[in-house]
Point group: C2
Chain length 626, copies 2
């Protein structure tokens, strides 16, 4: 299928938008009139520029408040349309988007509306053009695609067809199955966008919060399958009004957009039966399927020499042992059982260490076929990270996530000569790793750059084949922090993405924190073990436990034990969650120890504000406050 994007979905001048769309590999664009009006480039030169870039101009939009209007207005709009067709001829675009009338002046008369569309169709046909009529969700009389099709059918003009827009169908929501009743050759255009599940007026949602397929809550696969089943073979075109995309880097947004279409096409291919795809010659993207992931191979933290000593103390305190040293790089491996943390003391390429800093620089997931995972990443436009190999080092596949974190695909087998573990020289003592109480990496929480939260979620969703949960806003004392979980591999790969809910101003510092949570089988056994090892933990205030006792039916003795070890508690149906935190490693990282009981699926969000407030206090007491 041809892939297209509306210029309104990207930031910048019209010229920048065209360049960005072409750069990442789109086949075409919809030109939004306002972008043209603000441009100093005449339409004929825009056409030449698009041609140079290899972009088709698929649609010109929008033409508003036309059909069913008062006679003098319709006459004026028909004159206006002649101007538009002239501009479109200069641009070399053949289809004009006509939105259903929202004016209070519009008459509720399908026959009249059809007649007006017929007249407009005549004008269009005279220029060798056509019009695509779209039902806006808030159209005065026509606000449903089936109604729009009824009017188009009545208009009965070869140059008049419908435009389908997923937002206007799924936001209401309407059943998209009726799309199959529209003849494919009368569907002149298809616009795709997703939107979050928000309690919000549909107009507000439409103008500010649309997003790319996979980033929201709509079933765009099902929607698009109906449109293809109807016989539509035109471009898949993204039309997304989003305040963040207006402000973000255009090429980055365009990459995110194209990835969303590749993901959609892949899921369409899975939804449709192979015979249909073959017989109908549906040209849908087919990246290598995601490999079934089986957990984390390791998490790597970059440290400077000061942070390294703190990290060593915290890891030892949690029962990790120093199990290996990289053969060629200043990287240590700490281990207990199959849980591995790497400490990387590589000096920054440009300049000195920022004293006391530590950050998660890489996560590694276990894939049965790392090379194939890497091919999938590449097919989904994830940037590969070039690596330099020392003699005898393992060939590791890595890609860069939107926040810069390296994501490695590994197959950890001690017996395998090509295993990445061979890069590490075991230490004589402690080569078997630590003797702690931890079972696995439960989740890794990574802060995301402002404005790339949806991009990050779609990255993990598509590249790693994870599923996503709804966003949760948590009240840090200094602002809201948004969190979204992306989870897969039978819940063995859990990632938590965080971002300040508002950008600008003074941001809540905890929104920039990262953490690694380890699971254990018995939270109190773990707490006792770690207390004996001298692990510094985060103090939790007495007021929390007083409130916990008041609002739950937990035994007093249990609450006393929780209080004694600074363990927090959450409940979710039958599931229970016990968790506690270490003190900080540098300014951004901490560790969490968790126990999930009876299939608890959350992350203890109700306790997060308490944790955040405690971290500010603890940091201030340690004299490390910002």
């Amino acid at each position: 299928m041809r892939r297209s994007i509306a210029t309104v979905s990207l930031s910048g001048t019209l010229e920048e938008k065209l360049t960005a769309a072409a750069q990442v590999g789109f086949d075409g664009v919809e030109i939004f009139e306002n972008d043209l009006v603000s441009s100093a480039t005449p339409p004929v030169d825009i056409r030449a520029r698009a041609a140079d870039l290899g972009l088709a101009i698929e649609l010109y939009q929008p033409f508003r408040d036309f059909e069913g209007g008062p006679p003098d207005q319709v006459a004026r709009h028909l004159r206006r349309a002649e101007h538009k067709f002239a501009v479109m001829a200069d641009l070399g675009v053949g289809t004009l988007l006509v939105c259903s009338n929202v004016s209070p002046d519009a008459v509720d008369d399908d026959a009249l509306a059809a007649d007006h569309l017929h007249q407009l169709g005549d004008r269009a046909a005279a220029h060798g053009m056509r019009i695509a009529y779209e039902a806006l969700a808030w159209g005065r009389h026509v606000n449903d695609y089936a109604h729009a099709w009824k009017v188009v059918a009545a208009a009965d003009h070869p140059a008049v067809g419908v435009c389908l827009d997923s937002f206007h169908v799924l936001s209401r929501p309407l059943d998209p199955a009726g799309i199959r009743d529209i003849p494919g050759d009368k569907i002149f255009f298809l616009q795709l966008s997703d939107a979050p599940h928000q309690l919000m007026d549909v107009l507000q949602l439409s103008r500010h919060y649309r997003c790319f397929p996979g980033q929201g809550a709509f079933d765009l696969t099902g929607f698009t399958a109906h449109v293809l089943a109807a016989g539509y073979r035109g471009p898949l075109s993204l039309e997304v009004f989003n305040d963040v995309f207006r402000q973000a880097d255009a090429e980055r947004t365009a990459t995110d957009a194209l990835r969303s279409l590749l993901w959609l096409e892949e899921s369409l291919r899975a939804r449709l039966d192979p015979a249909t795809v073959a017989v109908q010659r549906l040209d849908l993207a087919a990246p290598p399927a995601p490999e079934p992931l089986s957990g984390y191979a390791f998490v790597e933290i970059t440290v400077d020499p000061i942070a390294e000593t703190v990290a060593e103390r915290l890891l030892a305190g949690m029962g990790f042992g120093h199990a290996g040293r990289h053969r060629t790089k200043p990287v240590q491996m700490w281990q207990q059982g199959d849980v591995r943390v790497l400490l990387n003391r590589t000096r920054p390429a440009n300049g000195d260490w920022l004293r006391g800093t530590a950050a998660v620089s890489a996560i590694a997931v276990e894939s049965p076929d790392p090379a194939r995972s890497a091919l999938r990443a590449q097919a989904l436009l994830a940037p590969a990270i070039p690596r330099r190999y020392g003699p005898g080092e393992a060939d590791l596949f890595a890609t860069a996530a939107p926040d810069g974190t390296a994501v490695f695909f590994c197959r950890t087998e001690d017996s395998d000569a090509s295993s990445w573990l061979r890069d590490f020289e075991p230490l004589p003592a402690g080569a078997t790793g630590g003797t702690g109480t931890l079972a696995a990496v439960d989740h890794v929480a990574l802060s995301q750059p402002s404005y790339y939260f949806d991009e990050a979620a779609l990255f993990y969703l598509s590249v790693l084949g994870l599923g996503q949960r709804d966003s949760v806003d948590v009240a840090d004392p200094y602002g809201l922090v948004r969190s979204r979980a992306v989870v897969g591999g039978g819940d063995r790969v859990r990632l938590l993405l965080t971002v300040p809910a508002l950008g600008g101003g003074k941001l809540p510092e905890t929104a920039d924190f990262q953490h690694i949570a380890f699971s254990c089988a018995d939270i109190f056994a773990a707490a006792v073990d770690m207390r004996i090892r001298g692990l510094p933990t985060l103090p939790i205030p007495g007021n929390y436990y007083d409130d916990l006792a008041a609002r739950t039916d937990l035994d007093d003795s249990l609450v006393d034990t929780l209080r004694a070890y600074g363990v927090l508690y959450d409940r979710d149906g039958e599931g229970e969650f016990f968790h506690f935190y270490t003190s900080m490693l540098g300014r951004r990282i901490f560790f969490e120890i968790v126990q999930r009981v009876n299939g608890y699926a959350g992350y203890g969000f109700p306790n997060t504000p308490v944790r955040m407030a405690a971290q500010y206090r603890h940091t201030a007491m340690a004299g490390l406050g910002a």
Copy 2:
């Protein structure tokens, strides 16, 4: 009246919130339970701290999902309440807020709900406390204050009353007049908040977008007048859930909050008849009334030596003459008729000039009694700007607006020995000013710091006595820019406040622009005059005029003339607007020349994106791009 604020309305830890509220002069606070739970300070110590700060703790909140619940749940909640009353005793607070039940388990049975409240009232009374029952707008069965009162009346317990919250009444909206039917001594508490006119789900609006009185669209004066008429004499307490306030500086937010109450009390005093205020001994704030403003006395621009030469060229190009020089400071006055612009070349106190910069540093409004205007500003917590006077200099009254702009109150009379004009030594030549075509300052547009947009609007609304219009979002090529007009003095004082609609990330540069618009009687006469004077203006693209011709019925010859002079056009009912722009002065300032026809009341917002895109192009061509 006592003035109170809910801790949830301010940023920070509980201790910081108390400090900020006390610092700016609040009498009391509502303590939000989550703030206490996250605090490491035990309740008895919070009580002592509040007492030290001179703050009463007026309310503890919230107690949820109680009345009408299943028997086992009610029993559990009654036990929970005992914990709460113990905490409240430690805090020294006498009233607990009980929100109407939102749970699907709640039974629709007023008698049962009343019985439950009665039982809770018994428990409260045993501790010498009382409960205030509030109807949430989204309560399961009780979501209307009249219904809440009905249940409270049926509960018939001296320790059970209602809490009224303006948000839950005015957001639905319900007619607040029925509040008068509730006995004043049964209204246990009053919570106030405003909210913008937004197409949004009420829960979303409530949790993220509430604002202080005067910042939104509610008639809080009318609402509160009903509550006072009912006989309520408790505190006026602000309960505002707002994402921005959560993140902003607490003391700054507290000042904004207290100003909103002073403004509300003043408008209440105006609404109620004086006899009522006197007889009922209503202790309402009474700042000096706003003086009737009659326009701008001057606008001052701070310039470095390079920007000064550019400013001189632009001012001369618009027909201003160099009319005076300050007797003691490096300030020039440029003038035509009564329009005055000051160029201030004062070196920054700390350090060097940033080359090529210019910024609006002061606006001056004409007041019949500047001293009284200054007293009003002081009463409304606007910070006075201390000034040093040279010998014989006029005593000018100035206050600092939220963006740091100095706002002067002037009375410009040439004949008056105390006029600020006496500070300027007329130049021998040109002492009568320029001979241009400009009539007045039409408006001044000032960019606001991220997150202080509502504060700025309320500042001008209250301190200068202006009225405000709804916000408009305009699409800059690199993001949305929000604008709001504040207007008064018979439309002779118009201010436009701008801010990026989203903070964070790369912001649209035009959101930081400032401009001064001058009115004229004939836009084309002005354009011709200024072209002869060599004024550099902003080129407007041909695509704009092609579109204008297509979408309006303007004569072709008029469109040609608009095109020839780079004049933009807007229409608003019968009103018409003609305007053009100069090139930039430094990186932030430009000038606009406007003509309003037939009472046009807007600012040409539909043309603003075209102006913004042209400015980026023009700046890039001038080699001054960011």
